[in-house]
């Protein structure tokens, strides 16, 4: 599984990082999401998916 953040849509809520900090890191300056686990290891998939579901902007998608 891979996840992708659309940075044109991401508004820096940081909710994905709260869902699974081992998949989503936040940019130092503006808090935009950065995917740091690509592909997502199997044991982090549930957290990665939670990040997708919890994004208020629906900026994150599952690529495969």
């Amino acid at each position: 599984m891979r996840v992708s953040v659309d940075l044109n849509v991401c508004q820096g809520h940081g909710v994905c990082h709260m869902s699974e900090p081992r998949v989503y890191e936040l940019d130092e300056t503006d808090g935009h999401s950065i995917v740091i686990a690509d592909p997502v290891p199997a044991d982090l998939e549930a957290g990665a998916r939670l990040g997708v579901d919890s994004c208020p902007e629906r900026a994150i998608s599952i690529v495969e």
Partner: protein, 378 residues
């Protein structure tokens, strides 16, 4: 197995999506009195109001749900013994019921929508308000909660003349407590919003808002932001416990095989050991996945630290936990006079809430501490 979901909005539809993801292949039926799937609400008081070209975005599309949609139909009652929901002349059988009928804008006698007087709940409401937010328009917002404050910010940015009338002494006081409420009241006042705090509204007449103080405010458009009330009347006499919402256990169960999610659920939050009802986006999303897990056979309690965000004043306000007037407030990053800050509340050193304005990175460590029940460093 048949699952009936009452409410085609965020909490109900996210429950269905979570069920499907968990491999539940039951027949699912969704009932809602509205003629279409609800749209995503957070933008309605924010970007949607500001941008005449913005379109409402539905919470989900039918093909994402794999469910039968009974829209424009009113669920009238629940019979727990018969396991059925009344729907006009017929009854809809369920093995599992999900109550997600949400909440409706609160109104009071004399404070009701009418010509030039609006509530904000649906995309249609937002479109009506947007049409009135013309440069120079006199906008009076009744109720200084999060929605009222967001509308005030948006309306000011569109060049409107804005006033907020709020009976409490500060804006957003229920969510932020008195001190932080005062901080944001000052910021909105500095942005040119006329604040009439500690004042109620006696009546709204055509283009005129009469205050309990006797004053009057002229208005081209009035927006009522008086909060919401849970849509529970159809559950009267059902045997479910109704107390400003549907009372549920920690697993969001209101009765055997009956769950409540979203604005309507007053559940026993194990974190606080008390019944809590939360009317925010994240709560609805998280409860949907908890209810789905329970329905799918994985017992799961919902013990989240509440989270709410609000976009206003050119920044983002984020609140974790519960801010209570009786707790002590401390600024841990920035100050009330700086553009960005983080403040926390604590009770004898035990962290109760963390509030940030445009400071997500500085705020997140306190969220972690809240979840872990940590004591604040001196």
């Amino acid at each position: 197995m048949e699952i009936v979901v009452v409410g085609a909005s965020l909490a109900g539809l996210r429950t269905i999506q979570a069920l499907r993801r968990l491999g539940v292949d039951a027949a699912i039926t969704v009932v809602d009195r509205q003629p279409e799937i609800a749209c995503d609400r957070p933008p309605l008081s924010k970007t949607f109001l500001a941008d005449p070209a913005a379109l409402p975005r539905p919470v989900a599309t039918p093909d994402e749900l794999g469910a039968e949609l009974l829209l424009g139909q009113v669920a009238t009652d629940v019979d727990l013994a018969d396991r059925s929901v009344g729907l006009g002349p017929r009854r809809l059988h369920y093995d599992t019921l999900v109550i997600a009928s949400g909440s409706a804008p609160r109104t009071f006698p004399g404070l009701e929508p009418g010509p030039g007087v609006h509530v904000l709940r649906t995309a249609a409401h937002a479109a009506q308000i947007r049409a009135g937010l013309l440069p120079g328009a006199r906008v009076v917002i009744v109720g200084g909660g999060f929605i009222g404050a967001e509308i005030a910010w948006t309306a000011r940015s569109l060049g409107c003349d804005v006033a907020i009338v709020e009976p409490l002494p500060a804006l957003m006081m229920r969510g932020l407590g008195p001190e932080l409420g005062a901080v944001f009241s000052r910021r909105h006042a500095a942005n040119g919003v006329l604040l009439r705090l500690g004042t109620g509204v006696a009546s709204v007449e055509s283009s005129r808002v009469r205050l309990t103080s006797g004053d009057e405010l002229a208005a081209d458009i009035v927006v009522l932001g008086l909060g919401t009330t849970p849509e529970v009347s159809w559950l009267d006499g059902s045997g479910l416990t109704i107390r400003d919402g549907v009372v549920c256990d920690a697993q969001l169960r209101a009765a055997p095989d009956v769950y409540a999610v979203g604005d309507i659920a007053r559940w026993l939050n194990p974190r606080y050991g008390e019944l809590v009802r939360v009317e925010h986006w994240t709560n609805a999303v998280e409860q949907a996945s908890v209810a789905a897990a329970n329905i799918a056979g994985t017992p799961t309690v919902y013990d989240a630290v509440p989270y709410v965000w609000s976009d206003q004043l050119g920044g983002r306000l984020q609140i974790f936990g519960r801010v209570r007037a009786e707790d002590e407030l401390r600024f841990v990053f920035g100050s009330p006079d700086e553009p960005k800050f983080v403040a926390v509340t604590h009770r004898g050193g035990v962290l109760q809430s963390a509030v940030g304005f445009s400071a997500i990175r500085e705020l997140l460590p306190y969220r972690k501490q809240l979840i872990e029940g940590g004591v604040l460093a001196a």
